[in-house]
Symmetry: C2
Subunit: 236 residues, 2 copies
């Protein structure tokens, strides 16, 4: 706990790891859920063989991993673009609306109960350097941290790969069984076991109650599969 | 632009809208992409009828919307839990490590070029009120804003619904054609038109170059569909 105070790099590393874990959690939980549910849904259709279920599952996994990887990438990119456009605006504002910006800066500190004298002093000292003042307003007025350019790419890769790994699991049952109904049975057993394990581990990592987390993750997978099964039976 | 200065509520509303737009963008772009690609993949398999493609597509849409909605919900929940645990730690720190925390607070302002005298004055005034000091450190040391509890639920709903709307589009082509090959042809036409329109509109909303955005969104959809088609043909 005390290292938190001595080593700021340590703290940032902690955040970086959380982001990676979060990416893997997002990709893997969707990967375990969607192809599992799709396969379960197709199992309810009488004219469908294990071959078609596996083919559909693989098609879904590749499409889903591309779409989710892209989702992560675009989310990161949007964040970076948002930051850059706000940064430009803040530079413009300290030039064009200098007095308004000084007042905004004083107001920030007024909110935390600082005296008028301190407010004035802080703004005077900050305003000496444009770059530092803008940096300050970005973080403190807008609550924006400079995003890490590489995160977008890392996030895309992590989510995409985690989706593929998670998605293969429920399909394996259809590879080693002779009919959709027995495939479905084993797919449920394997996937529910994985969802429980994954949900448990995920909760441990994010510091939530582990058993509750395991149950929650599993229930969502089962609901998705049951919904897909119901919809497929209804429309086939 | 100037209203930005006069109305802080206005600014927050702007962010709120961005979050909603981002949710819809995430859900819709995945919805247009994944069921489109899955249907395209299944079209490559000779034993598959339009009925099976539609059934698989609907099963995927319902499962995907549940999984994505959940993803949004969990992301929001994780953010809230992370904030709460950091808040608790910060209260503990100003009690147990008061001197260290005061130094951290001074260091924040040292980074922006404030004089030692100002640093001392700010910390003295901030430390008079525990709640305000902790609020300050949360926002300024850790860069964390108090998350909106309702956002997690809203995000789940927006992403899930957008996924369903986006996913239905490519499937309609298989409903009004007689064979997978003609279904695929019309699905490509309809979906590519939607991806172009959606990508264009999305870029307008987020302030990016619109034509480039339209192309990018479309290319991803096409890549996912081509990959799914290739994989399905390979394994069928």
């Amino acid at each position: 706990m005390q290292t938190h105070h001595h080593d700021h790099v340590h703290t940032e590393k902690h955040f970086q790891q959380s982001a990676t874990v979060r990416d893997i959690v997002i990709g893997m939980s969707d990967g375990l859920t969607v192809p599992f549910a799709l396969a379960a849904g197709l199992s309810s259709v009488s004219s469908v063989s294990n071959g078609i279920i596996i083919t559909a599952g693989l098609a879904e996994i590749i499409a889903g991993s591309i779409a989710m990887g892209l989702g992560g990438y675009l989310a990161g990119k949007t964040e970076i673009e948002h930051y850059d456009s706000e940064l430009k605006r803040e530079y413009m504002e300290i030039k064009e609306f200098n007095e308004v910006e000084r007042k905004e800066c004083r107001d920030i500190f007024a909110e935390y109960g600082l005296s008028h004298e301190s407010q004035e002093k802080i703004v005077d000292e900050l305003a000496k350097n444009d770059d530092k003042w803008v940096d300050f307003m970005m973080k403190f007025e807008l609550g924006l941290e400079k995003p890490d350019i590489n995160r977008a790419r890392q996030s895309a890769r992590n989510i995409g790969l985690a989706y593929i790994v998670g998605g293969i699991v429920p399909l394996t049952a259809y590879m080693f069984t002779g009919s959709p109904s027995s495939g479905l049975l084993f797919s449920c057993i394997i996937t529910i076991a994985c969802l429980l394990t994954f949900g448990y581990y995920k909760s441990k990592v994010t510091g939530q109650p582990a058993l509750q987390g395991a149950m929650r993750t599993t229930v969502i997978g089962v609901i998705a599969a049951a919904a897909a099964f119901g919809i497929a039976r209804l429309f086939s």
